[in-house]
Symmetry: C2
Subunit: 296 residues, 2 copies
Amino acid sequence: MRTFQQVSPLRTYLREIRREGKIIGLVPTMGALHEGHLSLFRRARNDCDLVIGTVFVNPTQFGPNEDLDAYPRNLPKDMQLAAQEHVDALFVPTVEEMYPNGFQTTVHAGSLSADLEGKHRPGHFDGVVTVVAKLFNIVQADRAYFGQKDYQQFLVIDQMARDLNMPLDVVMLPTVREASGLALSSRNAYLQPDEKEAALVLYRALEASREAVAAGERSSATLEALLRQTLLSCHGVKVDYAVVRHPDTLEPLESLEDTSAAALLAVRVGRTRLLDNTLLTPPGVQPPRPMGHRTT
Amino acid sequence: MRTFQQVSPLRTYLREIRREGKIIGLVPTMGALHEGHLSLFRRARNDCDLVIGTVFVNPTQFGPNEDLDAYPRNLPKDMQLAAQEHVDALFVPTVEEMYPNGFQTTVHAGSLSADLEGKHRPGHFDGVVTVVAKLFNIVQADRAYFGQKDYQQFLVIDQMARDLNMPLDVVMLPTVREASGLALSSRNAYLQPDEKEAALVLYRALEASREAVAAGERSSATLEALLRQTLLSCHGVKVDYAVVRHPDTLEPLESLEDTSAAALLAVRVGRTRLLDNTLLTPPGVQPPRPMGHRTT
């Protein structure tokens, strides 16, 4: 596996590969790789001729009181895991390489980013779409892979790629979970044993909402009450949001009579903020639009 | 010459050409083509294997009280002129094709856009960099050509391309002028005969600043006073700005002892707003950094 810290040699390496007509798959990460990331590498390996991973803890998507400094970093381990998944090259830029002196142009996410994570983390999605636009342009990938765990992030990035006519497909893959149901996240490393136990309530709440829909419940308000009630049944869990929204627009929904939906959770367990989500598709209703888009 | 109104068939056309390894040159325009645009087509024709022109009067770069509706449009003439310059394909999208329902992601220009045109036309440069980013991504050109007449626009676009790691060179070509010295502009069509005569004062002011520098003047304040005095000597001319700035950063300069500079004018003649500029390079001083950048 090749590793690159600078844009220029990576471009040189990729130019030759592109000339050969190879399909390039990109997996952007912030490192601290876990099975969720590895599932993205595997899918990219399966779909593409060349797989590029990136490891970059992007400072511009962290707020001033967030966990930028504490965010787990383990590059040697990340390199080992990526190599084991037959990633062809890992791009590991410095902050200065990504944001050199004089850097000033940013990408701004729109209405999809206004609520939920965007509301709790002002500026977060602008940081995300700016760095992802840069990575898309650096690698000029044919496909880029993201996990469903960050569902709103996926929608915002997919919309960015379409709005700016970026010539690649943005692909979402299912959340990878521990046997317990806990969604894998690099931030799970922050959890104390008792907190990790408490964190299982996110999955239980999502399961409860799925079961309610299967049993005929169609009211978003009732489903949201169920999510919140399940979460709050667990001592020490604070709810940032627990909502049922339109799966494409994230706008509030009255009912799931005629539409599928996304149940989206953000909770704090101790000092750790955790996200999870599930799609809710009542029988006979159209599932959410196929994720990813094809522009090439 | 091929013409395309939609992104998808243009991409199909370009994909095959890119596979052949051809160098693609892009000349983005708002139409109402004049010799300035034609000089860009000619340079692209000379430098590249394939030349793509675009004609799109981008509504998002016009302010609410500006001349969007009045902006001159003459597509049949533009097509004829582009064909005469052996442009391979013209992309002429509708507003709906560029900004479909749900469009929401924008590019924001930074500090280079804050003053001068950015101050007089709030939001203008965000509209420019957003549409140019889209056009760059649609065409995936190797080089894009812009005129020096819109000097700040060139700097803002070049910075955008570098900040977002876009894999193309942005090239600036000299302003084309009438024999009288008047810089060609689609907006010159608004000028009445007496206004066109008055508009010559922009060139006279720039010439006066160049002559002063050649005669040894190095004070920006003195040069700015000279620009303003020359402009205001002409009845009916209103000055939006007449400044001498750093040629790369557009920041104010004390002196041209150790640096070249850009003299930048924006004036109103009747109801028409006109821009012009010149570079000022004292003998023995480094000329402005080579325009355009190479990332590919």
